[in-house]
Amino acid sequence: MLVHLYRVRLRSHAVQELLAGSGIAIGVALVLGVLVANTSLTSSAGALIDQVVGTARLQLTARSSDGFPQSLVKTAKRLPGVRTAAPVLRQSVAVVGPHGSDAVQILGVTPGVVGLGGLGTNQRQLASLRFGSGLMLPASVAAATGARAGDVVSVLARGAMHRVRVSAILGGSTVGALDTSPVAIALMPLAQRLTGRKGRVTEVLFEPLKGTDELLARELRALAAGRLDVVTADNELRLLEHAAKPNDQSTSLFAAISVMVGFLLAVNAMLLTVPERRRFVADLRMQGYDWRQILALLGFQAFVLGVVASVAGILLGDLLSHVFFHRIPAYLTTAFPIGSQEVLGTGMILLALACGVLATMLASLSPAFDLRPSRPTDAVFHDRSGNSETLSRRTATLLSLAGVGSVALITVMVLGAATLTIVGGVALALGMLCVIPYLFVAVSRALRWAGERVRSSALIVVVSELRAITTRSVALAGIAALAVYGSVAIGGARADLLHGLNVNFSEYLRTADVWVTTGGNDLTTNSFSDEGASAAIARVPGVQSVRSYQGGFLDYGSRRLWIIARPAGDRPLIPASQLLQGSLPHATRLLRGHGWAAISEDFADEHHLHVGSSFLLPTPSGAARFGVAATVTNLGWSPGAVILSASDYRRYWQTEDPSALEVTLQPGVSPPAARLAMLDALGHRPGLGIQTYAQRSAQYAADARQGLQALSEIATLLLVAAALAVASALSASIWQRRARLASLKIQGYGTGQLWRALLLESVIVLGVGCVVGALAGVYGHALAARWLRIATGFPAPFSLDLDRVALTLALLAAIALTVISVAGLAAARAPARTSLQE
């Protein structure tokens, strides 16, 4: 019976069912797309790390890219509790192929890695590793560089260039997640030669014997003697999770907003079918069906529609995540080998499916209200307005009080603990939705007041339509409000962050007119051998001074800190705009001496540090004590930064290798011209890149924009999807009212009058949503800016950009009203006879 009746329904209302299904599918797609984008970053890195470490559970790791002597591996292998041990050399390099270059981490391995099951190796890879004499590239790197097996590619490492043959291209079937990872694999001797780290490795992976993890860790710590770290094999993932936290949290907020929008979208799509479903229920009752049969029928139809539409939505969402959302922030790839693998988990699919089905079931419940004994034939004799899902004014008032109360509560909550901002952002969105019904009451009253005094036929028609505060109108305004809220809040926070980062990097780079680095999208963390480069540059006419800038990453607990070691001649040593605590002149004087550092506030708070206190930094030569000269923002690197003097760096990191050469030009010398002269002077060092201050600033700004691109793409897509959803739902709602509109024509209303009335009504529904969304969005923006500043330490001072808010509203309104104006005109032109019976 259930299947038969649904087939009957599909035959008679195929278009309506298709429209409802499309709405649900779009909602589910939005939810899934954002969920995938939100989880793929760390999940793909997790898959990669699992792939590299295999069965290893512990690792001995160097505190800088200089690594440690490979001879230590032999000693380590003899330690009690070691089942298998395999050394690895990891260095950042660039692979240049026939069609382009790709920044990757070169992984130098020994055949011993097979014993750990690392690199997803099997017997076939074993053969490659033993007998391969070249570089093995994952398919994604091969595609980016255009390299094929047998080709000779260039490897730029530590300022030098080497030519090497590609021995194999590794696909997903052989190396799993590695095939989408930015890595290049070589046997240890080749990797050491390419990176200029002869006889050195950066980590050793260990698989302890069963039950000896603690013992082995103790032994390794003794071996490390405070100069190396002993950590779990998957420590990298924890470091990445910390680094990606702000990114994850901001996309989480978006995911939550998208879930709400998607849910409302699906509910709305179903609401369009409600009037006709109510009549269907009434007909069935007349035919003698009891309430159980009808409920089963409604439930079955909603379930089938929900499942089919949600599956379509899941496929669409997967496509969306591929096309729009899957961009890896460049700033993270400088420190972690994050792959482009998309992770579509079962949990995500089930969540998206549940959202779609639940929304469909909920929205299709309303015809069941007609099963109450007092309303046996309401649907048959009810006015055919389709506006049967009304909210009472009492409900609207209670909801608005709850909404205002929740916003007040959120404010108190977030002021107390900035870390609750993300939860507060979601709660703010819900509170905002609660206020919408009451606003309809207020707007309706205001229009009525105006209608009593102004001669406007459109106004009176609109007042009549709006007086019925329908769940559909509220849902439509809610979708618009959520989209505007999300776009304004996240867009605003993004703009603040971008502005803050640009100011920060501009100050950070202003210490030199020209920068000589290993190139690439890095934070000046890759060192190189000077080998006379600074002397050659110093001889270039117009060069006033050349200074060695040093730096890199240092793992400390769950943080991968950005170490900035500036030469004493740099001005300023600390970017003034990023100073949070301490005196700039005093802190600068201290940094020019020894044993002082400026540290990120977040890091300082975690270790209860303040200006004047001291802390131990785990350097490659052992723990070194530093005094806190000042606290600063995280300088755009979420795990935090430490600024110290280059002389301290040389002492504790035991290296003279610069990460950059900072060149100051004589007054009046053109930086671009000087750069060309330096390129000539360094002709034999193709691995070094030379950029003017302007070029390097532009690169940093581009990287910052790229890192935040996913946010802006999601915001725009959310807005466009919401605009189209509101437009289509409003258009469908208008279309359903054609008979009543036609009756007004018989009363003497013209097409133009009706069209204006429909547009006015749409403007009001959109307007209520947009105004509420914009206000909540600005408030959410302020909360987010505070969260970025306090909880994450990013340089993101709040600034209200009304033009951007206006642009957001204009985009939504333009898309929605364009669609509605066409549909409205078609409905207004409905022939008057539509309202007649024959």
């Binding site: 506006n387 009304t390 036929s457 009176i460 009549s464 006879r833």
Partner: protein, 234 residues
């Protein structure tokens, strides 16, 4: 004195398959104060005739005159003005604005003519009283019975002081008792206001309330009740 006059009016509808003659050379005259019924089965052309009278469609042949004005030749704008100012129209399914008071529903035609809501209400109140809804002017359609809803629709039709009353199956959704009330009311209004009224119905019982009956069958108008049809009517 107003008169509705149809002279040799024909109307055809072309479909992809065939051309149907809905009204075929119909001539009819309804004088002031006269309430007539166009009786006929479904598909006989009743509603087409009503649409012709309301200026909603133009005849293919012949002319529709109201007070000497050729209604079929009016522009869309003039046609809308004609319906707004001269015609009161009552529908079977009322077409009231939901969740809007009876009073405001009754004003909808006046506000379309440029009245403010306040002015329109002043004019609508006496009409609602006239149809027996003085005590229920603030009730919304959902709070009114079917008969009361139709009374609101009649008040809405009359509030602009029309010179022609047209009704399309106005009792189709009402029970027998309510039908009698509504039809009696419409007849009385036509007599009181001295305006012509046309009732389209397929309900034989409804014809008892009119001054004259015409039968429409396959587009042809027959003066009086078609006895064959009457015999088969339920």
């Amino acid at each position: 004195m107003s008169t509705l006059e149809l002279r040799e009016v024909s109307k055809r509808y072309a479909t992809s398959v065939e051309t149907v003659t809905a009204v075929d050379r119909v001539s009819l005259s309804v004088s002031s104060g006269e309430f007539v019924a166009l009786y006929g089965p479904s598909g006989s052309g009743k509603t087409t005739l009503l649409m012709l009278a309301a200026g909603l469609t133009a005849p293919d042949h012949g002319s529709v005159l109201f007070d000497g004005q050729n209604v079929g030749a009016l522009s869309e704008r003039d046609s809308a003005r004609y319906r707004r100012q001269d015609v009161g129209f009552v529908f079977q399914s009322f077409h009231l604005m939901p969740h809007t008071s009876a009073l405001d529903n009754a004003t909808i035609k006046l506000t379309g003519s440029g009245f403010t809501l306040r002015e329109a209400r002043g004019q609508a109140l006496p009409w609602l009283a006239r149809v027996g809804l003085a005590a229920r002017v603030e009730h919304t359609p959902e709070q009114l019975s079917m008969g009361e809803r139709q009374r609101v629709a009649i008040a809405r039709a009359l509030v602009s002081d029309p010179r022609l009353l047209l009704a399309d199956e106005p009792t189709g959704n009402l029970d027998s008792l309510r039908s009698q009330e509504i039809l009696g009311l419409m007849r009385d209004v036509c007599h009181e206001r001295d305006i012509p009224g046309v009732l389209v119905t397929h309900d034989l019982e409804a014809t008892r309330f009119v001054d004259r009956v015409y039968t429409l069958r396959d587009g042809h108008l027959i003066d009086g009740m078609d006895s064959e049809l009457a015999a088969t009517s339920p």
